[in-house]
């Protein structure tokens, strides 16, 4: 009996000591996208945990969900670092959720493209990747290659298109691109909305996550979807014959930025993480796994990999969408979309 008591006591004490030791390890909480998480864990999470002797915890979801959570917890933030699409980051700045970076603590910032260094203004964040939005399509079902946004209106695509829902990150850029393709302007989006309303017969559904698009392609439900280049690797994993359309309207681009959340207690660790995220090693590893296109200038990719990503040459010709413009029109577009298109 006594022996048993001793054993139990010993177990309790040793587990208490163990938890104390673990308790000393700091935790960095990151709000992130969730797509390709196993690859991100391999390329970023585990190497950084070894480097900083800390623990990384993720809260994942799409931009809109995560921004809503950041707003809800504004006075008592539980997130240290937020990875957001650039116009959601602008929204976060407007809500007073982000802190300015101390760029001296991010030496790798000197290795990234100029457009990525201060995309949000006032050093509220750096871009860690940039990507284009275009059409991914089945080459076995569509014989004539898609070369324009206007090709979505082909009758053969009846019920075979998944569009991004307006509340997703890709939603407003698709409205923007379609509007431009039909000669609309920033101040007149009627052509875009009218055309999208006429596209209804071709639309099977609206997606909220890129992973949904992958399963729709995998099950032969859809033949075309506008997606971000970051999701291309996931689409190729479906094993279906897919192509990335080179559209004659040109490439529109968006950035994903990384920022520090106001009120964090791990400010130094957060800077260290951002510096790590844009380092040559991490950017190369992420690019080779087709997770994100690199914005670190020193990264050298094999041509076969570069062909699957948004690359150096394309960045120069890309037209980055004005994040502040999108932010300004988003609420109005959501209301209009719900009324005219999503029914």
């Amino acid at each position: 009996m006594n022996k048993k008591v001793m054993l139990v006591a010993g177990a309790v004490i040793s587990s208490a000591i163990f938890s104390l030791a673990v308790g000393q390890q700091r935790t960095l909480t990151i709000s992130s996208f969730g797509l390709n998480q196993p690859l991100i864990d391999k390329n970023v999470t585990r190497p950084f945990e070894t480097l900083c002797n800390c623990k990384i915890v993720y809260e994942v979801g799409n931009n809109a969900d995560r921004l809503a959570k950041l707003i809800a917890r504004k006075n008592n933030p539980n997130i240290d670092v937020a990875l957001l699409g650039d116009y959601f980051a602008q929204a976060a700045i407007r809500e007073g959720l982000l802190d300015q970076l101390d760029t001296r603590k991010i030496p790798n910032r000197n290795q990234i493209y100029d457009f990525a260094k201060n995309p949000l203004g006032n050093d509220y964040g750096v871009a860690f990747t940039a990507y284009t939005i275009s059409l991914a399509y089945r080459t076995d079902k569509i014989s004539t290659p898609l070369t324009s946004w206007r090709d979505l209106w082909r009758p053969e695509l009846k019920g075979r298109i998944a569009l991004p829902n307006i509340t997703t990150t890709q939603g407003p850029p698709v409205v923007f691109a379609v509007n431009r393709a039909y000669a609309g302007t920033d101040s007149n989006v009627n052509p875009g909305f009218q055309q999208l309303a006429a596209l209804k017969p071709n639309i099977l559904t609206f997606y909220n996550q890129s992973s949904q698009v992958a399963s729709l392609f995998a099950q032969d439900e859809i033949w075309v979807a506008p997606i971000g280049r970051f999701a291309w690797g996931t689409m190729l994993n479906t094993g279906k014959p897919l192509a990335w359309a080179r559209l004659r309207e040109g490439q529109i681009g968006l950035m994903n930025t990384v920022s520090i959340v106001k009120g964090t207690k791990n400010e130094d660790l957060a800077h260290q993480y951002i510096n790590f995220l844009i380092s040559k090693e991490v950017q190369l590893a992420q690019a080779n796994d087709l997770v994100d296109s690199p914005i670190n200038k020193t990264v050298q990719l094999k041509p076969a990999k570069a062909a699957q990503l948004t690359t150096l040459g394309e960045f120069a010709n890309m037209r980055f969408l004005d994040a502040k413009y999108l932010l300004g029109v988003r609420d109005e577009w959501i209301a209009r979309w719900n009324k005219e298109i999503a029914r």
Partner: protein, 273 residues
Amino acid sequence: MTNNRPRAWLLLFPATVFLLAVFVYPVGVFLLSSFRLENGVGLDNYFTFFSSEVNIEVYWRTVRIALLVTLVSAVVSYPAALAIMQLGAQYRGLLIGLIILPLMISPVARSFAWLVVLGREGLINKTLVGTGVLKESIPILYTENAVFIGLLQLMLPLMLLSLTSALENLPRDVIAAARSLGANSLQVFTRVILPLTRDGLTIGGTLVFTGCVTAYVTPALLGGPRVTMLATLLYQKAGVTVDEAATTVISMVMLLTTLAVNAALKSRSRGAA
């Protein structure tokens, strides 16, 4: 008897405190905030919500699908429940186990399975096209029909269980008595079985209707943004556009609608009895 009363209150005390603290108080505060305006109280949030054509459409769609699922599940469950009651006790246990089985599968997994069955290249379309019933596959997924099918499968066990237990309490002899007095099968059902199992129908109906109104995963995955229901709209308002007024209004509307249907079912069963 009177001695027992204080003790009964004492025994109820912990559960009452728990429910008041973690359910009645927070939910009450949340729902009441739907009447709060910038200055004072009023129904403005409700007027704003129902002034939108889209919101009204979502409301009627939700009520329509929920009522239809409730009705169809009752129609399908009565014969099944009667059949189960006529089987021996050993089979009855097995069958009830099988009824409960779908309830044990996560709604997410179940909805994904439906994606495979209902798709353009799914089981139903392949069968219909293969047997020549259809010339080419038709869209089922991402329509109201898909949501209806998914919810019916999800909620049917609740109705079946309620009716089975109601039938268990039905005195065996009444059916034989009705028959010996010359009632045909239809008369036995409408004059004897239905009135005597109305309580089960009320419980089952309330469970199914409430379940349909509050279900999130099934309409989100099988219907998508095109078939928005109250629960998916609630999520959008709460999680994406952060519209607190609409969130509280939708919650209140959901609660009142389910209470109204429950009251209607109850009054019908009482009126008939």
